[in-house]
Amino acid sequence: MEIEVLEGVFDANEIIAKENRTLLDGRGAFMVNLMASPGAGKTSFIMRTLEGISGEIKPAVIEGDIAGKVDSERIAEIGVAAIQINTGGSCHLEARQVNTALNHLDLDGVQLVIIENVGNLVCPAEFKLGEDLKVMILSVAEGHDKPLKYPLMFSESDVLIVNKIDLIPHTDFDMAFLEDTVRKMNPSVEIFKISCRTGVGVDAWIDWLKNRVKAS
């Protein structure tokens, strides 16, 4: 006997993602899901972002890593509420883990929650967490051809941060090729070219983010 099911495997995750959204909407908080491969500069980017919004927007950070709490300690050191999720081998965060983290964070007065997803250009793109904005980082050293190899991530992201642009003179990185490829996949994507090391380009991102958070 054949039974019709018609149920998506990600449906259960998406229900919890919506709960996360409702929880944050009730508090007037905005949430960013930050995704990139390991070493692209996620934590440095978060530190730059926290520095840029300091005194204007109250943030909290959820750190997803397979193991360790190096990142959340680094963020807590500058006085920002941070919580670490150790996925224990899993390659991405799921909405349930974020839900638990949100319930453990002191969200009083928090206007912006930044989630640092597990370093991976594949799986995190599949799992909605209840975010307002999907932001991805591609660092110059990874190469301009990555959108063609990891298309889902590039087509799903609202914002593409091209990091480590100070390295461009030392590489064959083709920015025009990157932009052309990404815009075909994702015409509405916002692209910011920055270097977290030198600080170049960071201000444009910060101004844009502040406007988005305040408009929400």
Binding site: I3, V9, S90, C91, E94, A125, S155, T181, M185
Partner: protein, 113 residues
């Protein structure tokens, strides 16, 4: 890693529907899997063989129906297959398009005894 957790979710969906229909065994699972999904059928099969053991779905045949990546233009209404990840409308060259297939990972139906 990824397929392990999604296979667990898929098995959960299958068992819930099988049990609510008082099945004694699941013989076949019909799955729709978009070509733009990051899930690999071979890996789902591999993990299913392990985690399906000792459940009523043990040994069920997994049948994957793959769907092509396709979009619809919100401006002119044209539906088109997306080639080489170029989402630009093939008719009006508009950029305001939405994916209509190719992202699915759905349990379409199950065959039970």
């Amino acid at each position: 890693m990824h397929e392990m957790s999604v296979t667990e979710s898929m098995l959960g969906v299958v068992l819930r529907h099988a049990e609510s229909n008082k099945a004694t065994s699941v013989t076949r699972i019909n799955i729709v899997l978009g070509e733009f999904s990051t899930v690999m059928p071979e890996s789902v099969q591999f993990y299913f063989d392990i985690i399906g053991k000792d459940t009523i779905a043990e040994g069920a045949e997994l049948n994957f129906r793959r769907t092509k990546l396709a979009s619809r233009c919100k401006d002119c209404g044209k539906e088109f297959e997306v080639v080489e990840y170029d989402f630009t409308c093939t008719k009006c060259k508009g950029e305001n398009t939405e994916i209509i297939s190719g992202r699915e990972f759905q349990v379409e139906s199950i065959e039970i005894d």
